[in-house]
Symmetry: C2
Subunit: 243 residues, 2 copies
Amino acid sequence: MNKELDKTVCTNVEWVGRAHCDRCHIRRLMFFSELPDSAFEHLLQPVDQFIHAAGSTIFEAGTRKKFIYSIRRGMVKLVHTAEDGTNRIVRLIGPGSAIGLELLDGADSYHHSAIAINQVDLCKIPVPTVEQLESEYPELYQHVVQQLQDQLDLADQWIVALGAGTAKQRVAQLLLVLDKFFAENNDEFILLSREDMAAMIGIAVETVSRMIAEFKRQKILYKTDNNLYTCNTAELLKIAQQD
Amino acid sequence: MNKELDKTVCTNVEWVGRAHCDRCHIRRLMFFSELPDSAFEHLLQPVDQFIHAAGSTIFEAGTRKKFIYSIRRGMVKLVHTAEDGTNRIVRLIGPGSAIGLELLDGADSYHHSAIAINQVDLCKIPVPTVEQLESEYPELYQHVVQQLQDQLDLADQWIVALGAGTAKQRVAQLLLVLDKFFAENNDEFILLSREDMAAMIGIAVETVSRMIAEFKRQKILYKTDNNLYTCNTAELLKIAQQD
DNA sequence: TGATATCATTGAGAATCATCAGTTTTCTGA
DNA sequence: TCAGAAAACTGATGATTCTCAATGATATCA
């Protein structure tokens, strides 16, 4: 199912500059939210800021790098690739969340591949720096625990909502998830590719397409802009939960 | 799918006694593994030990209790129940793992119900006691992080292995998961009820039964004892991964 | 802007799975 | 040890979904 996703891996990454966490205007939303300004005076290794183009790979599963990434803007998909090349999307990660946290507790390589869905703005934080700050500021542990718990909740939601039911129900659930996830201020959201959606709910691409097309015809889902969509949440909920 | 699991909730719970963590012979496997004996001299609230009979509920989703549980022996299923009564098993938890960790970071109630699969031997640890020990011994945070990361890995494995593929592939994957999970020393494992298996992989009970029966006929799965089974791992892997 | 590649949609037939109903097996308690 | 209940298994049928193939729409780039 869904083989050879991303045949042409575009590695379009732009270095934006050294991060100055003490002057970061969104720090209270980010990985170092609990730390005082003074914490960043003597970092073991510096934090850098990057912009990843849509489709570019942030890290690949199994790679032995030593960085975690705090997402400032954009959406990242965590992908598991099986031996036969089958891809499965395990989680979507948005602004304020961190990826690569497995490195903080002994894992020697990333557990998934992380790929930018749209343009992603992120901070690249060396693991030794995190460990240094953890030992100096135990409150950072609290934040890591919070992050992991949030991601565990997401994974559970994924299992419950996207892992059972008919194809139509799963697509409806997925749209509800996307709506809640992307819609920060407005209620528009980016509709993912059929391939990505299929890789999330474990059904064929054509089936996803059929369901999406049907929802569009029924005006449950409508395009507002380029590839921005809005949906009728109430109607989707009814579909998702019907017996 | 799989409605009215556990119509007769047996709440057979036996108090074994106050836990003396400083003298616990398996502490290095348990939640307080990193702490010194002296840590337990002045606990805010005591830790108690219980035995739960198979099928009994350890806690129910949404309950506002203030305890986490460290599993000493036996298997626990974490169950999500939808509004319509549909049950979905989100995770299996075994010895050395802890449940209810969501309470440690602000959640005011359990996210799932926890039900004993076989006889479960556990320690009931009050949240204030954990918080006390966390502030005195920051290394306990490390352990919580480890626990959460382990459970996140389990959840991801669940999504990848049990969420896609044909019914036969999913059942094969599930048997492999059970084999790896239950088989501590020997290679026998408890075969769950068809209802539980269906609730894990999101297919109909009858379909699970058909697949299991087929595996038995093909001698890929054989009963060794009461309801202990052994499986041909290589053969199951082949089935699980075939195109 | 037009050519081309990629993605989304649709159709049709085959394969898979859910459902309902009935049978067999296993478990449980008197 | 036996009767009754629960769980597991099986068969038949219809609905759903996958697969293969073709067409339409959209994006990209020279």
